[in-house]
Subunit: 141 residues, 2 copies
DNA sequence: TCAATTTACTGAACTGGCTTCACTATGTAG
DNA sequence: CTACATAGTGAAGCCAGTTCAGTAAATTGA
């Protein structure tokens, strides 16, 4: 039960790399990338959005959103519609397929979480979350 | 003390994204990228290596290693030398500057770990590591 | 009402990480 | 000596993402 800060810190980085890779693979099987998936995630959470708002939510350039929406529209997951009031703006919404993909993502998350962590004692999970929060708080600063 | 698997899982992903970004920034200040830093890390750990071995350690193509070593050599952090026995091979070693960079990386890791996690109870750290290990084990499969 | 300014999107061009493919030079086995 | 495998690299290209310039529409303000 030693609990060395450096060991925990290193473990967090190793975890980061592996989780990113695992997610990348899982998404790739559905033809998604992390960025494209994030667009779907945001649209599912926030509802229909104008591209500019999407750029802010994704913390990327408006130009890049154009490209992402191009790709997702091509894949039939989102749909561009003229904004009712502002004719400059383009509103982006999930299609039925996009909504289904969003549900798949949410479900995979739950399934994976239970499969991987279902047998872990609740106290350990709570401690994990506490430490993760400390790291998250410190890293932002 | 609830300890919800899904919450912990989500937290792990959030942590992954934030840690990657934080590391990217820290490395960028020294003109490094994650890949270039990994070359230095591997060379510091394993000692002088042939490019082919480097490619295996980094899990990337030999061609990419050529590029990475080009950049690091340009920056004066590593040095190419002909392999003593195999005239096809090129051996890569850290320069003094590269070794100093490796020490800086190790030290930063320790410093950050203690700054961020120094006040966290040892039991929580141990639990964190346990959960991280469960995730690492499950993700590989 | 009209000119000046701002805002939303997109084309063109570019950077950076990374890959594949083709090629050269060298080593190794029969 | 031939046949084959291996180490590195040039050329070309893919993908994520950016900047810059341009167009069209909205907003401001005299």
């Amino acid at each position: 039960m030693h609990g060395d800060p450096v060991e925990a810190f290193d473990k967090a980085f190793e975890l980061a790399a592996r989780l990113a890779e695992a997610m990348r693979q899982a998404l790739a099987e559905r033809g998604l990338t992390a960025s494209r998936a994030e667009v779907i995630y945001v649209l599912a959470r926030e509802g229909e959005l104008v591209q500019r708002a999407l750029a802010e939510a994704l913390r990327c350039t408006p130009r890049h959103v154009t490209g992402l929406v191009d790709q997702l529209e091509e894949a039939g997951l989102v749909q561009r519609r003229p904004h009712p009031r502002d004719r400059r703006a383009t509103s982006v919404a999930l299609t039925a397929g996009g909504a289904a993909t969003a549900r798949w993502m949410a479900e995979s998350r739950h399934t994976a979480a239970r499969a991987l962590l279902g047998d872990v004692p609740g106290d350990d999970l709570a401690a994990f979350v506490r430490v993760a929060d400390v790291l998250l708080g410190g890293v932002t600063a």
